[in-house]
């Protein structure tokens, strides 16, 4: 891994600390996703804060987009509501800034067109200034990411790409080579959404990815409870929970706190199962 041109105290290094700290406790990191602006900008800040306070090591702040092709109904519904309430890109940056100001660690999850429109360099600059650590890009692959890789490097942000069960070994190699911070492994072939069981494809994919990289590997898509979190934690460095948290968010902060606590116990191997 190369060091960023932005120095040593960068988003990338702080993101690395999330995983080293978890590893020191012999557990996986818990990563929670919630979209900015759902149910309101202020409400989303409260929910994300709650997730961090209840045991999430890192949050993904979703940047709402009109055409989320990799998202299932739960997240579609939430971002649709956020957009109907008029959420803007600057609101997402504001949420990240507020989280970072109180010591929270946050990356942004965004489809690529909003960043293109905002300006790739400007987005990297403003996200770094807000204290964000990196960006997960579900519909941007490294092949098309030249400008973003340069901007991320300049600002010390982690470009976080996805690998999928369908990825060839060659693509896993090239994708991991472009990724910083952690690698996002999609557990299954499908859109986001809670599932009843962790797919076998997840363990295979993580094993394949480990052959190409020393990066921490986070597994997402389908995790919904503490037992599943514990299962994923047994073979991954990070457990990513999205739709289940968004569903909980429909019931308010207490529900988010409850689920996060359960998931945090899960990644520590303390969940008794259900």
């Amino acid at each position: 891994m190369t060091t960023s041109s932005a120095g040593t105290d960068t988003g990338i290094t702080r993101l690395g600390e999330v995983f080293t700290a978890a590893k020191a406790e012999d557990r996986a990191a818990l990563i929670g996703y919630l979209p900015a602006g759902y149910p309101t900008v202020k409400g989303s800040l409260g929910l994300l804060t709650q997730a961090l306070d209840a045991g999430a090591d890192l949050v993904e702040v979703g940047l709402p987009y009109s055409d989320p092709v990799l998202d299932g109904p739960v997240i579609q519904h939430a971002v649709d509501q956020a957009l109907r309430h008029g959420v803007r890109i600057r609101d997402t940056l504001h949420v990240v800034e507020q989280l970072a100001a109180r010591g929270g660690r946050a990356v942004v999850m965004t489809y690529w067109n909003p960043v293109l429109r905002y300006g790739v360099d400007a987005f990297a600059r403003d996200l770094a200034a807000a204290g964000g650590l990196g960006v997960i890009t579900p519909d941007l692959v490294p092949d098309e990411a030249g400008g973003w890789l340069a901007a991320a490097d300049r600002e010390g942000l982690a470009p976080i790409f996805l690998v999928a069960p369908s990825s060839s070994d060659e693509r896993i190699a090239s994708t991991t080579a472009a990724t910083r911070g952690f690698l996002y492994a999609a557990s299954t072939m499908g859109v986001t959404g809670a599932r009843d069981a962790v797919a076998d494809t997840a363990t295979t994919l993580v094993a394949r990815a480990r052959a190409h990289t020393d990066l921490p590997i986070g597994v997402g898509l389908g995790v919904r409870n503490g037992a599943q979190a514990g299962e994923v934690a047994s073979f991954a460095d990070g457990v990513i929970v999205g739709s289940a948290l968004v569903s909980a968010a429909e019931h308010g902060r207490a529900a988010v706190a409850r689920l996060t606590t359960e998931l945090a116990a899960g990644v520590r191997g303390q969940h008794t199962g259900r």
């Binding site: 009109s66 429109r117 693509r171 999609a186």
Partner: protein
């Protein structure tokens, strides 16, 4: 007359290809989830093999000839031309193909490719329903399972095509998210494909999306321009002065434009759906009124707001009601080789009626945009060549027939009592929940 060019000649490769990763200059490429990269790689590799495989090419030509009815004729529209300032208007009759539009050209090609890849199921998005009908048709012919995603708004305004698809054995899924039109149908098709890619091919319906679709779909439609070029040369001893087509995603336009790219004297004009006027904000003219962005897999012109959110579009024509456009059109617009002009709903419907009454042809409302454009540019071309010259030839791609649009047109012109038109109310004996009967 020499024998007509065949569909397979469209696949032969040209001097106008994207780079290996599908870029036309700064446009195109692959802006899409990693999970689908393996699938589009497979499609690209299989297409490269297929287009060099004599057996595949022969089968494609056989189907296009014996099943779809190619070549389609060119009709000299003399009575229509009386409204075009002295220009001569030639109609390339893609409306006469089996299923009633140009869409069959692409669908037969991709359905054959699906079989080659050993996949058993196809999915498609559709706006007006023409691509959905063509896909359902090819699926029936080749024994493939077929699911078509269609925005709920479009299932209502194109109810006839929904019925056609179901009769052909396809499942039609109304899409209720977002603006409930074509772009949302594409989103749902992508979501299906991510989860089904092992056994499913996505028959993308226009020359857009991630590489290799813009190039491959274009190639399957190049037969339109290859035929028309020969037909016009044979009948008039010269090339047309202008080749025009409607542009939504742009597949019929790129199909007829492409074989003329090297004919410098032939101007290429695409007509975009201006809805209630580009200045009204209620339109679907991506090149005229849009800006660069990435949607549904490719970099192209896009109707979007300051935050990169896709804007809701409007066109009376469901098939043009889409906020993006194929990347090769963006490239041709930038280079100036093709130009793009807006045509409003009202202009298109005037042209729709004009073609009905002068030529006895009911066009698809999509294609009526091209007719409107041709009639509008006629006097301009005549003025350019001068009064003593031969009348200029305008070749129009009449991409589809208008049976599906009869409801919309009847309402627009008030030619029938609105009470007599179909309503939301299901007829007796219909399943109250789904509005469906067993077929």
């Amino acid at each position: 007359m020499t024998s007509a060019p065949t569909a397979s000649q469209g696949l032969a490769g040209t001097a106008h290809e994207p780079d290996d990763s599908g870029h036309f200059g700064r446009w195109g490429g692959r802006f899409m989830p990693e999970a689908l990269i393996a699938a589009v790689d497979e499609v690209a590799a299989e297409y490269e093999k297929a287009r060099r495989d004599p057996a595949f090419l022969a089968e494609l030509d056989r189907l296009q000839r014996d099943y779809a009815g190619r070549p389609s004729p060119v009709t000299d529209a003399r009575r229509l031309a009386e409204h075009a300032g002295g220009a001569r208007i030639l109609l390339k009759r893609e409306d006469l193909n089996h299923t009633g539009s140009h869409k069959i050209n692409n669908v037969l090609g991709q359905a054959l490719l699906t079989k080659r890849m050993g996949k058993t199921r196809v999915i498609a998005e559709t706006g007006a329903g023409q691509h959905g009908v063509a896909t359902a048709t090819a699926a029936a012919l080749l024994g493939l399972d077929c699911v078509v995603y269609m925005g709920e708004v479009d299932t209502e305004r194109q109810a006839l095509n929904v019925a056609r698809m179901r009769l052909l054995g396809a499942e039609v899924v109304p899409v209720t998210t977002g603006s409930r039109t074509l772009k949302d149908a594409l989103n749902e098709a992508y979501r299906d494909w991510v989860a089904s890619v092992g056994h499913t091919h996505y028959i993308l319906g226009t020359a857009a999306g991630p590489h290799p679709f813009p190039r491959m779909v274009r190639d399957f439609h190049r037969v339109i321009g290859l035929e028309a070029r020969e037909q016009v040369l044979a009948a008039y001893g010269r090339l047309p002065d202008a080749v025009v087509a409607c542009v939504g995603g742009g597949s019929n336009a790129i199909g007829i434009f492409h074989p003329f790219l090297d004919d410098e004297g032939v101007r290429l004009v695409g007509f975009e759906a201006a809805g209630e006027g580009v200045e009204s904000g209620r339109h679907a003219a991506s090149i005229t009124g849009g800006s660069p962005g990435a949607l549904h897999g490719a970099m192209s012109y896009l109707l979007q707001d300051d935050d990169g959110q896709t804007l809701e579009t409007h066109s009376i024509s469901a098939g043009l009601d889409y906020p993006g456009v194929g990347p090769e059109h963006a490239y041709l617009a930038d280079s100036g080789r093709a130009t793009y002009e807006p045509v409003t709903d009202a202009e298109a419907m005037d042209a729709f009626r004009l073609l009905c009454r002068t030529e006895g042809i009911i066009p698809a409302i999509e294609s009526a945009h091209a007719i409107a454009g041709a009639v509008r540019m006629g006097p301009r071309l005549v003025a350019e060549v001068g009064p003593d010259a031969e009348p200029p030839l305008i070749l129009v791609n009449l991409s589809g027939r208008g049976d599906k649009d009869v409801d919309t047109a009847a309402r627009w012109f008030g030619v029938v009592d609105p009470e007599s038109l179909p309503t939301e109310e299901p007829p007796p004996g219909t399943d109250a929940q789904t509005g469906e009967r067993e077929l």
